[in-house]
Symmetry: C2
Subunit: 355 residues, 2 copies
């Protein structure tokens, strides 16, 4: 058995999450680039418990140590290992113009400015609902992405459980949709949106408080061309947000957008999601754009499991939490799932940690 595989097994015991050899390799590669734990999580595309488990095992086995400034540094033994295995530093070729999304957020600069201006007093992300806001550049890019795929103009659009990002507000502000319904559990966000709609005389958009653990009323089902969401990465939450989102689509050809991260779920979980999407719900996946969604570190970071299990106490200095952007298309015979969810692992399970 290779040394990396042995380390992976130890890290798995340490963290109780699925880890294989390649994950250890990516953490070592990241360590050649940065000593900041949160940057290492970002570069290695791993759930926090996995990255933390690997770093802890590397320290325990003498390959790394924590310096006075809480940087994680390689020891000589660590450098020797890296040389022996031919591991090289993480490289980042992300396009600076579009931040890697393939679509530049500034292409409609007036739209971007309006969004920034109107949302400067937005409600802060709070822990109760697993909130975390994406950057305004991300939110605006989501709307542009939808527009470039023909999923915005004159469409009936439902935004569910993603309003901490103010995505529904941005869709409404584009003034290109036929109608916009925003569903969120957080009354602060619903009021924020409805006030802006009233103020600007936007009468085709509406925001309503709803707990997605409850089934949708029948008037919402089968009524939308497009839904947008940003679910927590547990399987029950995925069903509640995405299964229910699909249930609101009018017909085949209906479209869904949502973020999925590798920071709170593994690539193993991703396969489960993908099997559910294609085999159970009857949709095709047309896009997965990694690192499309960049999140502003939430004020409640210190209180999270992520902060507690991290090998260092130092807080994130920059953006470290990203998610990919999925687009799906409903095919004939797609399934409308709308059952009640009463699961206590709705927000958090063994791979998640940022709630």
């Amino acid at each position: 058995m290779s040394l990396l595989t042995e380390l992976a097994i130890k890290a798995r015991e340490e963290s109780q999450v699925r880890i294989y050899k390649k994950n250890v390799e990516r953490v070592l590669s990241a360590l050649l680039k940065s000593g900041d734990f949160w940057q290492i999580v970002d570069m290695s595309d791993l759930p926090v418990p996995a990255a933390s488990g690997i770093v802890k095992v590397l320290i325990k086995e003498g390959y790394a140590f924590i310096d006075d400034e809480e940087n994680i540094r390689l020891t000589q033994k660590g450098y020797d290992l890296i040389k022996e295995l031919g591991i090289e530093p993480y490289v980042d070729y992300t396009c600076q113009a579009c931040e890697g999304r393939g679509i530049p957020f500034y292409i409609d600069i007036e739209f971007y400015r309006t969004f920034i201006q109107l949302t400067k007093d937005r409600p802060k992300a709070i822990r109760d609902y697993d909130q975390g806001s994406v950057t305004p550049e991300t939110t605006v890019s989501r709307v542009l992405f939808m527009d470039s795929r023909g999923d915005l103009r004159n469409k009936d659009i439902l935004v569910l459980g993603a309003e901490d990002d103010l995505t529904g507000l941005a869709v409404a502000l584009s003034r290109k949709a036929k109608s916009v319904l925003i569903i969120d559990i957080d009354k602060r966000l619903i009021d924020f949106d409805n006030n802006i709609f009233k103020e600007l005389g936007i009468d085709n958009a509406e925001a309503r408080v709803w707990d997605l653990r409850n089934p949708f009323p029948s008037e919402i089902l089968g009524r939308y061309d497009v839904f947008v969401s940003d679910p927590p990465e547990t399987l029950p939450a995925f069903r509640a947000f995405i299964g229910r989102g699909i249930a609101t689509l009018k017909e085949e050809g209906g479209v869904g957008y949502f973020g999925l991260t590798l920071r709170d779920s593994s690539v193993f979980r991703w396969r489960d999601f993908q099997i559910a999407l294609t085999s159970e719900f009857g949709v095709a996946i047309t896009d997965i754009v990694q690192d499309f969604n960049a999140y502003i570190t939430w004020d409640y970071h210190k209180e999270t499991k992520a902060a507690q299990i991290a090998p260092v106490r130092r807080e994130p200095k920059d953006i470290w939490y990203r998610s990919s952007w999925y687009r799906i298309e409903a095919l004939p015979g797609f399934k409308r799932w709308n059952e009640a969810i009463s699961d206590d692992v709705f927000y958090l399970d063994e791979e998640g940690s940022t709630t």
Copy 2:
């Protein structure tokens, strides 16, 4: 039943491929932007037979006509329909810096120049093997993408059935892989690569002639960290290229890259591919970047079924054929498929047309 749905049903009868309402809408949206049939195919993200069927039905029903220069134009009845349905022109927000790939091809400008210089006398794409070369910018971006995901440096890499794009050559020229094996059916390309390797003294790369309809010999199975391919979009070819590619991976965490297009297969077929990947082969899909791969129109275009079924005789003037870029990761228990294929629909079926 809506008028668009009626048109979709008629187009389906006309073309004998799966078409739904949304597809008709996208073609109408494209028609507001261009009269060039090949640009319409590009913008509507449809298989050629589907786009052609829709255009033919629109003409038959009086919504469009073909002008003297073989442009497809809307009639007044067509404009009335578009207005009634609120269809707006196709919009394109593709990042000009990275051509929408998220990674700029010029980030290592020396590498790009070397590739251009060495490949200026490359063999032309020929019809026998369903060839079609991507632009040099695409090929170089593929290598940069692999590098940025940790799938290049010191890796054993297999490039199978994608050498019309000279992807294996580019991987070898990066001089970052541990070893490169290139497999292709076309001896011209194999000789071209091997000559360059000899000339430049690249001794960790080798090219070999192989027909992927035949199973791999055992020495190739389970030997690679990463495979790269570009399969024809039939189900038998998908198994032969991608199933066999997965069979060559050393272990869990192994990675595959390949192009899949919506010009020669529908989103229905994509779901079949995705079910095979996740449920049968045991891999997770980590990336789907639409329009990553841009193809230079092949010299044999006139001889293709695409040219024959098109509503106009006019040839493509610009790039119109694109494919998405998939990345997959093998999970524990992944399946090594390596059976013989003797299928006469290897290159072409009802949705394909560019062979």
